[in-house]
Amino acid sequence: MSLRSLVALRGMLVAGVVALSLAGMPWAETPRHASAAPAGGGAIVIAIRAEPDTLDPHATGSRRAYAVMKNVFDTLVYRGPDNKFHPWLAESWEHSADGKTYRFRLRRGVRFHDGTPFNAEAVVFNLNRIVDPATRSRTARALLGPYERSRAVNANTVEITFASTVSPSGLLDSLSQAWFGMVSPAAARAAGADFGRRPVGTGPYRFREWRPQNQIVLERFPGYDWGSPAFNRKAPALGEITFRFIPEDATRVAALERGEVDLVQEVATDAVERFTRNPTYVVVRGVAPGGPVIFWLNTEAELLSDVRVRKAILHGFNRNGLVRGVYQGHVVPAEGPLSPSTWGYTKKVEGLYRYDPSRAKRLLEEAGWTPGPDGTRVKGGRPLALRLGDLFDRRRGEYFQANMRQIGVHIEFRLVSSAELFGMTRRAGDYEMASTWYASSDPHILNLLFHSSNVGTGFAISRWRDQTLDAKLAEAFATMDDARRAAIYEEIQLYIMERALLVPLYAETEIDAIKARFKGYRLDRGQYPELFEVVIQD
């Protein structure tokens, strides 16, 4: 090598230094709060587990989206913590005796964030949008049931007609959920497919910003004063809400401890103690109503078509071990298709399938499955190997795997994304078990999960087609009297468990930790963050 000029050496050192300083430049940074000063009343930063797929209430079924959307959109009615329905965008309602026609009188003086007025025409637009195939609505569409049409009787009265009877408590519960948030017709028409990224509603907060993979920021909507009388104020106090997406449990919790966020959702069970013992924080819990966390049993899969095999699986699962050990008692065991905190839950499902590995083995033997060379049972040369996919938590799948090994059932378990879960469950032959969890404040979620019309849509994953069950579900959906409704749902829950269509695990407990200076925070009926009444008191 021959001599070089000083350029080489200097260049080298300079390169290193420049690299370091370039890297530290703020051009790729994200400021902690999107604005310098929020619009009075203070701000709150919330760490949520995952990013919403979209903020179009009609098009999504994601819990993350719900938590954000409920601040941007109002619904016709509000279901309070007392489980009763209160007026919100609708002041009063009535229905025909046959339960096919409903009328809602709407509140006056309500405006969308874009200034357009909220009226009966808007409600008609919203309902039609939900049933429009272009919206690709699943959850909202399914909850709307036998919707036929709606019309604006006058500027403030809307009439909804159904093809068959719909029970008032069922309908009102659906309408109280954020999937039925009222969107601005003008904005929806203008934005088209992009509406989900730029939502416009009548809610107390309007959308300001969405930084993908990072956060969503909402700011208070000035002029909002039509809060439901169920709240203790007409309009919320907080000026700004930021939802930050932090998928890793430990990071989320650490963010709260470092003061980078004010409220953390889904606090990991092993971190809860730290907050309960610390007066700077308040821990808020709620048992989610609706479906518990379950493992579906695909009754159309060859290996699971025999009910004895399914019952064996139920007897072979040590639910208490999972709840007490892995989840340290922070969740509530579930033994039926509804979570214990749901209206209409029946205690009679409890104890139907006690943990009894020897009984499980006997059932499998009866069904013709004998232990093979490596412990997995075989029948006619085929091993009892079941494919299981779970969206979130590998612990329950792995624990279940270990339980099943004890009775000679081999489980192929994978953590999957929602897209993969869909891919798996689309066809009967591609899976044996899948894990899902659907929250709902009303038992009519069972329609979604067990009615034969929902097989193959991504919902009725056990693929059980049964006219008796369908009839019962339809009846419950259409019964006007609440006591009778509850009785039918009890029958349904027992019917489902007798046929072993699923393995219930536990009812998801929402555990949130919030800084104590935020008063008035609670979880609503669906265990979503209720921020309407939050004030900051130092």
């Binding site: 080489a8 260049g11 370091l20 994200t30 650490a254 470092r258 897209a419 869909f422």
Partner: protein, 311 residues
């Protein structure tokens, strides 16, 4: 030199074409039905047909290929099904963060590597030498994501020096940058060491010493200038490794960037997103290599003066 630059630029073009073609072919060789994957839960017969028509998947291969290039020319990489935004937009939004981390990692690697290497060479055959070389070897053997976890464990969890979440501020960049850069630092340290050692043996160094020049001057003015050329080249070539490392480290430190986007895309079977990200990263890599080659033209007088270096 002009000719050299021109030749280098021209030779980069077929590489880019090749990369783009491979990426294009990814969509074609996917097993299963990518359209159904993309639609997720909303799949129906007409939605599938519509999407296939939109994406032009039923056209003959060469038609799709031409369309692909036309779209590329416009900067259109398709629309991400899982995120519901144009892929290009999502990539551009995340790219600066990855770039920032890669550059920081490179800075760390260069500074640390050089320091260790020079130290080891100058204190040749002492325990300094073995110590620094052991550290270098460790840097190459330790998985970078594990190093990241350990750094979090030590500094963020137990010592509480640094914040750990995501973006913002140089202090959040330190730990990830070290995790990204340590492996390359190890490589550069070894390279610097042997390079410096070799130069130390050269005649002109002995001459300089014989003339009575102080040791420091010998090292800085004579040795380093020559020893560092191969190091610069290698450092530039390490960019690709550093970028791959950054992609993984982003997940460890919950940072924004293309890494998280790719993993998310793979999990969600969002092929267009993964394709776009791959194209982006590979192109960046090629451009950086090109830049290194061109900078060589500036640094190496043989090229500057027009003579072709023996290749």
């Amino acid at each position: 030199m002009g000719l050299y630059v021109l030749r280098r630029l021209v030779s980069a073009v077929p590489v880019f074409v090749g990369i783009a073609t491979i990426v294009f072919l990814v969509l074609q060789v996917l097993p299963g039905d990518p359209v159904a994957m993309m639609l997720g839960f909303s799949v129906t017969a007409e939605a599938t047909a519509r999407l296939r028509a939109e994406l032009g998947l039923d056209d003959p291969l060469w038609v799709q290929y031409v369309r692909y290039w036309r779209n590329l020319a416009r900067g259109d990489l398709g629309r991400s099904m899982s995120m519901d935004v144009p892929v290009a937009q999502a990539l551009w939004a995340q790219f600066p963060a990855t770039l920032q981390l890669t550059v920081a990692g490179m800075g760390c690697a260069i500074v640390l590597g050089m320091l260790l290497g020079v130290l080891a060479a100058v204190r040749h055959h002492t325990w300094w030498d073995t110590a620094t070389m052991t550290v270098a070897l460790a840097g190459v053997s330790i998985p970078s994501f594990w190093l990241g976890l350990l750094l979090i464990l030590a500094f963020a969890v137990h010592l509480n020096w640094f914040p750990i979440t995501g973006q913002g501020g140089w202090e959040r960049l330190v730990l990830p940058a070290v995790a990204v850069g340590l492996r390359a630092a190890g490589l550069l340290a070894r390279l610097t060491r042997s390079s410096v050692l070799e130069v130390l043996r050269d005649d002109y160094v002995t001459t300089a010493r014989a003339k009575g020049a102080p040791e420091r001057r010998v090292i800085f003015h004579h040795v380093l200038r020559n020893a560092l050329i191969p190091v610069v080249t290698v450092a530039g070539l390490q960019f690709g490794q550093l970028m791959s490392g950054a992609v993984i480290i982003e997940s460890v430190f919950a940072r924004e960037g293309l890494g998280r986007l790719i993993v998310y895309g793979i999990m969600q079977r969002d092929i267009l997103l993964v394709q776009g990200a791959a194209l982006f990263l590979a192109t960046t890599y090629v451009l950086v290599n090109l830049a290194v080659d061109l900078s060589y033209a500036v640094l190496d007088p043989r090229i500057r003066l027009g003579a072709e270096a023996a290749r």
